[in-house]
Symmetry: C2
Subunit: 224 residues, 2 copies
């Protein structure tokens, strides 16, 4: 019985890691699709998101099964409950990657991101993917230092987000309102994606130590 139990807990954790890998990769490819105006790649990101939703349901069903059959208590119970929250975070990240890809599709064959912001958006995309890889690692290792590092690394995302607004609100902005709207939303998609990665790390820290780290400065209003 105990062995089956630990296998079930492990399969929940495996599901979360698989979701993190999928959404990290999706955000990387969505960023390429956006910056290269690559319609085919955008379509592939959009359709691949069904897999994330399927995994989310799997994780939820496994969690419910383990609750019903094994009736975990104490730390194990918290792990299962936390997994449910994490799977919701990861599902949302899949949706955010899909939004980036949909914007690439909407503007095809044009580029949604103007030339002078490409480097910033590329860095946001790469950082988002890296933060999610770190979150996946933290899910496996429960390494507190790595979790805290992830929170620190997210500071760079906030800087990049501010840089986007700096560009948008510069009086020399000459790309028009449509592009301003696109860039505003893209910046928000990356920032929210990173917030979810931080939230996963935060939950692992709480599981292991019982202590909340400083609440990630969760999405301040745009131009603040």
């Amino acid at each position: 019985m105990r062995e089956a139990y630990h296998e079930e807990l492990a399969s929940i954790s495996d599901g979360l890691v698989e979701m993190a890998n999928l959404v990290g990769s999706a955000m990387g490819r969505a960023t390429s699709a956006l910056l290269d105006a690559d319609l085919q790649l955008a379509e592939s990101v959009i359709s691949a998101n069904d897999k994330v939703a399927d995994l989310q349901r799997d994780v939820e069903n496994r969690a419910i099964a383990v609750l019903a059959r094994q009736q975990p208590v104490a730390t194990d119970l918290r792990i299962v409950v936390t997994s449910l929250r994490m799977s919701a975070d990861l599902e949302r990240c899949g949706a955010l990657a899909q939004h980036v890809a949909k914007l690439a599709r909407l503007r095809f064959p044009d580029q949604a991101v103007p030339r002078d912001l490409r480097r910033t958006v590329l860095e946001m995309g790469q950082l988002a993917q890296r933060l999610m890889a770190q979150a996946a690692e933290v899910l496996v290792t429960h390494d507190i230092d790595a979790a805290l590092q992830l929170e620190r690394d997210d500071d760079r995302m906030d800087e990049l987000h501010r840089l986007i607004f700096h560009h948008l609100l510069d009086e020399r902005w000459h790309h028009g309102v449509e592009t301003a709207v696109d860039v505003t939303l893209v910046g928000r998609y990356y920032e929210r994606f990173a917030d979810h990665a931080v939230s996963i790390a935060h939950r692992v820290v709480y599981l292991v130590t019982g202590e909340h780290t400083d609440e990630a400065a969760a999405d301040p209003p745009a131009t603040a």
Copy 2:
């Protein structure tokens, strides 16, 4: 024992309803603060959000307690697990109301929303509050018809969101880029708020019928 059990389940449900009432009211007041450039009201919405976070933790702790002590199975187990997801939805709605209030504060004493969009934003705010009131009702009554009605009423939010983009992308837009950025984000805050209300209704329908209603057209990319 059974009586204590049902009391515990009821206290989870009460917590969710209280959260829904709080965040609905917060979004209503945030909208007033935004449209009237009312700094004091904005501050009160921002600081009141701690209460939502407290309630979220309460609901989560009650759910964990009932899982540990009562070890529910079948439908009761699904109800508890679903409550966890709903409390996350509602917590997020509190954050979104706070974002609207923070924007009002950031632009004070100016108005963030230009005159020709005030009516649309007012309707979005009122609709958001109404959808959340419906969600609270559905949480109590488990009334499927009311849940399905909520999903239909959300169509109006999508229309209003499209109307915002119609204004933003009209060549006669003369409010500049900063206002365009503000309005883009505000539109998204209301739309996401409504999505969470729909998601709550959707989960109630699933609990009662075991069937998923049509997936709410969850936040299409901005200008799509």
